[in-house]
Amino acid sequence: MSAAVWRERLGVEGLVEERPGEWVVRAELSELPALADRAAGSGLRLASLFGTDEGEGRTAVHHLWACAEPPGFVRVWAVVPAGAGFPSISARHPAANWFEREVMDAFGPVPAGHPNPNHVSLHDDWPEGAFELRKDFDERRVVPRVGGQYRAYRPVTGEGVFHIPVGPVHAGIIEPGHFRFGVAGEPVLYLQLRLFYVHKGIEKRFERLPWRHGLFLAESISGDTAVGHALAWVHAIERLAGVEPPPRARHLRVALLELERVYNHVADVGAIATDVAFTVPASRAQAIREDLVRSHERLFGSRLLRGTIAAGGVKCDLTLRSRKELMAQLARLGRDFKDLVSLLIDSGTFTDRVDGTGVLETQVARELGVVGVAARASGLDLDLRRDQPHDAYRGLRFEVPVEEVGDVRARLMVRAREVEQSLSLLAQVLDALPDGALLSPLPDALPAEASALGWAEGWRGECLHWVRTDARGGIDRVKVTDPSSRNWPALVRAVPGNIVPDFPVINKSFNLSYAGNDR
């Protein structure tokens, strides 16, 4: 039924429903831009764009679109002949910008008509013609580094206008990334980013792993999103294997994902206070987070909830007594956190720093395909838990907080309100946990030459894993889409017009992962 809807909306014949909520159509390469326009015109949003190796030097380009009504994802793909380029959609759909350049960097085909067809993931010392995601690239071989001039940054000219280079090594203990500010005194004219300093070839690594081991890699993609990425991975595997986890497991997964959201949001609220030197609330937030992650260790054996999710279910359980304990602790946490938030927003010097700082406008956020907290703070009402529900979310009551202004305060308030919702979700789940098994049995092998998408709304935003199997049922290709890679380009748009000393707090209000982006 819904396949017919999509055939009509997109005007394509061959579209089929591959699995529930996943529609796929193969198109001609030249049709891709027109199809992208039609998809965007019928309310779809670009969720990911990636390449696959089709053998004999051919590459396929896949456009993945998300839709709330009917809920699911539409994948449009086309094959690029060996040695050819592919038509770029970035000029009309800026959300595709980094994705298309990543396809170029990892597979070779050049996006024709791209407004800025430069490397994004490859640094200047990477040799030409080495494409890491092609099947003929051996990742165990050491790639020789090449010398040469570093790619120039956009120059600045004018009286008193200059560059401030920051990073990749920073003064604090944070991940590496290079920021290049063009400034006139204190006001920032523009910001350029250079990331991918911690590119580890995770997508390539998946291809060499037995599919049952992929989970360990998935939960290491970004240390603070262990549950989010683990869920996206197991969802893809379960959809491939045709396995549905038992109800108790699906509810426990909700609890784990919400606990991850709570500890990260609390830490972020404290980090925003740290960045404006508001020390008392900052250390209170740290204490609240620490209490919670200690309980994680006691209850699940891991402070950051690693090793809790399994393909087909979960690896941990909660007894009635530990549920009661956890609920009591979460009730305390809710009160402490509420006090903390009012301590912040009742302080004039604090609100003066966060109000109107680092505004990301709704229109810009929509164009760039921003997701998660940052999207909801800029007036985009998106949340996979509600729009494309996974695990037990369909049966639970919760709201999706949305703020309109898009400044640091809005991102702070979205976090604060989401913590309330998460606590309510946790109360619902812990109060009425269905009895039964924790794991559904998995088949011995995955179906050959099949593909499936797994998704989860992590605390930072949507985590997507697209998994394709080869002729023997092993992993052929995994595309990991981390919310950070969707949101980094938005930071570039939120900073200009602000002053240099406000950058750290703007950056912190997005709190994007370098590891997740660089993979």
Partner: protein, 313 residues
């Protein structure tokens, strides 16, 4: 007193204050940590840091000139020289005949000028950013400091800090609105000069938000030790001026052992009280947006001006 004696006394006072300065910073850090339910670094951490830094070779950029080397030395020397003009526990300063308020402010300005010039010397963008920020703040802090001190000078009829302390000590505690306003103005100057929240954040790791720290980012080893030590001394100096001008209780007028002991105890107690005040300001405020700092400094200037005007009413 002859010149040799007062010179010796001046050196002694400078040495004692230099020895005390890191402890003051340690105390404020401890107090601040207590407000956050943290343990904080040891009280003596400042001394450990200085010892560590002094034992390390400074790394200097190839492209920097003699200005970069001179910066910390001039900054340190001016701060030490300034301490000899300030009465600490005795109602009189060792080298008070050498100069008064104007020399004190001038010495501190000279040190700051050299540090800012040195920060520009390496050509690193952070140095330039720090220098421009520091100068913007001090352009407003300096007049406020002068006006605040002039208010007291008008009362005492002298620009000499020794004379002033003797007059205020003889007069006793004053709740004259003019004194209160001048004290408030100088307190704000203290916050700014010491690089404390809400003007600057001495504990930050965020190089983009720093004022004073951005300026000295290029320094290392013994050079950095000099800067840190001089900054701590400057903070102690401001606090000493503040407590001795506005709370002139128990300053020793003679050289009796008992009087000196009481004066020392009271001085330390007053410093502690003022440190608690500084800490309270630090923990109850977020750092101001950089472009709001001039507003705070203008408020200080306004207070100082009012204080001065009230003298003539």
């Amino acid at each position: 007193m002859n010149l040799v004696d007062s010179f010796g006394l001046g050196l002694l006072q400078a040495a004692v204050l230099l020895a005390l300065a890191p402890l003051l910073r340690g105390t404020i850090k401890k107090l601040k940590a207590a407000f956050q339910n943290r343990q904080g670094p040891p009280l003596l951490q400042g001394y450990y840091d200085l010892a560590k830094l002094l034992g390390k070779e400074p790394v200097r950029s190839d492209v920097s000139s003699w200005v970069f080397v001179a910066g910390p030395r001039v900054y340190f020397a001016t701060a030490v020289a300034a301490t000899t003009l300030v009465p600490v526990i005795v109602a009189g300063a060792p080298l008070e005949e050498a100069g008064g308020i104007l020399v004190l402010v001038g010495l501190l300005a000279l040190g700051r000028f050299f540090l800012a010039a040195a920060a520009l010397d390496t050509g690193s963008p952070f140095g330039g950013m720090g220098s421009s920020r520091e100068m913007a703040v001090s352009a407003l802090a300096e007049p406020a400091l002068m006006l605040g001190l002039f208010t007291v000078a008008l009362w005492g009829g002298s620009l000499n800090l020794g004379d002033l302390v003797r007059t205020t000590a003889a007069r006793g505690l004053s709740a004259h609105p003019s004194d209160l306003l001048a004290a408030a103005a100088l307190f704000i100057v203290l916050i700014a000069e010491a690089g404390r929240v809400p003007v600057d954040n001495p504990a930050t790791h965020l190089e983009l938000t720093m004022i004073h720290e951005a300026m000295v980012l290029e320094y290392s080893g013994a050079d950095l030790a000099l800067v840190e030590w001089a900054s701590a001394l400057k903070e102690l100096l401001f606090m000493t001026v503040l407590v001795n001008l506005f709370l002139p209780l128990g300053l020793a007028t003679g050289v009796g052992a008992a009087a000196l002991a009481i004066a020392t105890g009271l001085y330390l107690a007053k410093l502690f009280l003022l440190s608690v005040g500084v800490t309270l300001v630090e923990v109850t405020n977020a750092k101001l947006r950089l472009f709001r700092v001039p507003e705070l400094m203008s408020a200080s200037l306004g207070l100082a001006f009012l204080a001065l005007a009230l003298r003539f009413l």
